[in-house]
Structure formats: structure tokens, C-alpha cells
Subunit: 138 residues, 4 copies
């Protein structure tokens, strides 16, 4: 298992007239979560793309447990529970400042060759960096 | 069963640097789908809100089957398969101009009293308008 | 002078907690306005890009005259007042359903070679299509 | 004069298929800039709203000097050059990580009574907090 926490503040432009964060904006929070998890491992998603690997989302499940409001500080916890194959699954929990769970989600992405747009193996260096956190899988 | 189709054109601002629609923007397509389904029944979601009924999304499942690109004309098919209770489930299929399925999703929403923020019964008039399409349910 | 009107309905996700359209979302309305003006002339911006011409925005002025609300039908009027050079200026007026002006703006864009990222001449066919509408300029 | 710097990282969802930040997304950067300037003064815009003061944008000028890219760390410098009246003007400069100017803008906002939706005086406590930075104005 490998986990990364990142905290951010809700923007006014992320709210809708219900007075809470628009449900479609959570996708950006999930994106930030996995971007920072990859950075914590010593890589950047930007660099993956520069080397011809795209990582499109193929499916997503989201549970909106409690609303988030403008100016709230939320913590996005992103977790890898298994070593990736061509598919990588990120699990998400979002907490408000009091530590209450407000959102749970999972996003499935597929390592994709940017030239052929076909599934690809994850970068070898990424796999090696993840290996120590998933010893029981090996 | 009750179904509504609506067609729209992909905006440049909806794409990301992968060259396709950003995965978070589909939530707006689903929102448009249910807005128009409700309008087709003779109501508006705007009017529900004016009468104190909110309809927040409590969960969502999305399958990104194929990408959509800038300037594409997509058709959003929104379907109710069951009469709503306090919970209403919208099913979505999105098709490209050739009729190929590019996205499948479902959104669960809960009729909510805007004063108490507690679950509420769906508007009676909405239930009556839906009834004829769900005879086998009654 | 060349003008194009396009009508669209405000999305819920375009509102913020003030109950009106978020000020940053108007940029998408302007983008739709110029996309449709170009289409009305017989071209597509998509095709310009495919042929190596980008059209980034270099400056924008916006006056928010009145707010727009969820589910409003707005009309975006896009106008070219002069023949483009490497620079093209789109003027915008947005009207509500009653015909009241709610927004005025102008966007300056520069035809750009996608390979060199340097300013470029506008497509010759576009200039020829525009010429009849700007006789006094010639 | 009163200035506030805030640094943030560009999200993937903020890019478009040109490979840079979509021009409409800068409005959120400006919003973050003024939110943090107000916080630095000891207040929150959220609290202003809670006490019945809205702050809608009435006009905006933006110059897109250079593009910003995914994963870039940008610094938003927000400046008040004059004491506000009912109108408050925020000036913006955005810099990339090397300190190069990439964007300049100004946003005009009007303190507005949320009940009457009419212009209002700025909160007295805000004026007092700003006064020391604008001695030559007094």
C-alpha cells in the first residue's frame, strides 16, 4: 500500500448555487491527488507524458458523503492498494478540516502509448519505486 | 422507462492537453441530460429549487469508453428505469455523431428539502407525470 | 462587419454560490461565439488547427453588466468589425431572453504557426470569405 | 499599496488541447489572489458573505503574455494600488517559476449588499486594516 495526503483550499469558482462544491469539480481533486502521489515517489506525470506515456481515466466511482464549501481546507488522501499493471487504480478519501470523511472515490487509469494509443506497461522505474511498499504482492 | 436525448457540441475549453474532453467535464453533460429530461416532462429543475427542493448528487459511476474531441457533436441519452423515491437514478449513454457509444454512467441524486437539508419526497406532480411510463411498476 | 448570433442555456455547473454564472465561465461563451462565427463563414477552427494554425487569446476585456442565472437562455452576438491581420479581434455582446444586454467583451487572438509558435497570416480562404463584408476596408 | 503573493501548481484539468492553461481558467487564479490578499489582512471573503456583503466582478482586463503549462508552479501577485470605495480594483501579475511575467490583469469588483443587491460601503474593519498602507491617500 502506498498513500499520499495533499491539502488544498476550495475555490469560489468550484462552488455552485447550492452553496457547495459542484460535483464535477471533484475530478480535479482526484487528479491532484494522483499527481502528488507520483511526485512523492520521485516522478512526475508530466515527465511520463514527455516520454510518450499517457494515463487516461477509464472509469470512476464517486460517493459524495458530505458537501464541501468555499474556503474549506480539504485533505485528499490517495492510495494505491495494489501494484499497477497496464491498469492502475487510485483510491481516494477526502476529509474536511475536522477530519470527517466527505468523499470516497476510485479512478481506474490505463498506461497508454501516446503514439499508438494502445495500453502499455507502466514505466519500469515507477514499478521499482513501488515494489518495497507491496512486498506481500511479490 | 423514460428517455430523453440531447445533442451538444464539445467546447475547446472542455478539452485538456491529451487532446480529448477532460474526464471531469462529463459531469456537466450528465447534468444537462437530466435537466432536459425533467423539462421534457413539463417541469424545470430551476422551479424545483425555487419551491425548496434541492437535488444533490450522492454517487456517480462513469465508464469512459472512447474519447470525445473538440467540436464533436455528442448525443446524451438520459434514462429513468424506475420511478424515483427520495432517491432518483439517472442512467446515461453518450454517443458520438456516428452513433458509437463513448460513455456510460449513472448518477444517484436525493430529493432534499432546502430548509432542513433532509431527504424529501419527489414533487407529486413529477410522480404523476412519470407514472404512465412505469405502469408495470405500479 | 460580420456578425453571428448563437443561443445557449446556462448550465448549473456554470453558477457559483452567489447564484449567478461564475465570471470565469464567460470565456467559454466567447469561445463558442467565435467558433460559430467561423463555422457560419464555411470553415471550422478545428480544421485550422489540423492545418497547423493555432489561435491563442492574447488579451481580453470583459464588462459584466448584469448577472446570468441557471437555465437562462442567453444569446451571444459575436462581431468582426475589421478584417483580421495576424491579429483578429472579436467583439461580444451577450443578451438575456428579454434582449437585455448582460455582458460586453472583446477578445484579441493571434494566428499562430503551430510548429514555430510564431504569428502567422490568417488562412487565405478565410480572408476571401470575409472580404465581401468589409468592402470599405479594401 | 498592499501586495500579496500566492503560489500554486497548474492542474491538468486547467490545460486545453493547445497544451497550455485555458484562457478562461485564469479568472480562478485572480480569485485566489484576492482571497489570499484579504486573508493576509486578517479577514476572509467567506466571512464578508456571511455578514451580507457580496463582491461581484464588474469588469476585467487580461493580457496573456506567455502561456502556462501543466505542473508549472506559478506565483500570483495581487496588488491594491488605492483604498477601495464601493469599488475595489485588484491588479495582478502572474510569474512562472523563473520569475518571468506570464500574465497581467485587473479586476474591478463592487461591494454589494446581499439583501438589496445594491452597492455598499466596504467593511469598516477592512478599511482600517488597509489605511496604514495608503498613508499618502489620506
Amino acid at each position: 500500500m502506498y498513500t499520499c495526503d495533499v491539502t488544498l483550499r476550495i475555490r469560489y469558482g468550484e462552488t455552485d448555487q447550492m452553496g457547495y462544491v459542484y460535483y464535477g469539480r471533484y475530478a480535479e481533486f482526484f487528479e491532484i491527488g494522483r499527481t502528488e502521489l507520483i511526485r512523492k515517489l520521485g516522478f512526475t506525470y508530466k515527465d511520463f507524458e514527455a516520454r510518450g506515456i499517457l494515463l487516461p481515466v477509464v472509469s470512476m466511482i464517486v460517493k459524495y458523503v458530505r458537501p464541501a464549501a468555499y474556503d474549506d481546507l480539504i485533505t485528499i488522501r490517495t492510495t494505491l492498494k495494489k501494484l499497477p499493471t497496464a491498469r492502475i487504480v487510485f483510491y481516494y478519501q477526502i476529509f474536511d478540516e475536522a477530519g470527517t470523511l466527505i468523499n470516497e472515490a476510485e479512478c481506474h487509469l490505463v498506461f497508454t502509448d501516446s503514439a499508438t494509443r494502445k495500453p502499455a506497461r507502466p514505466p519500469e522505474a515507477l514499478m521499482q519505486a513501488l515494489q518495497p511498499f507491496f512486498l506481500s504482492d511479490s
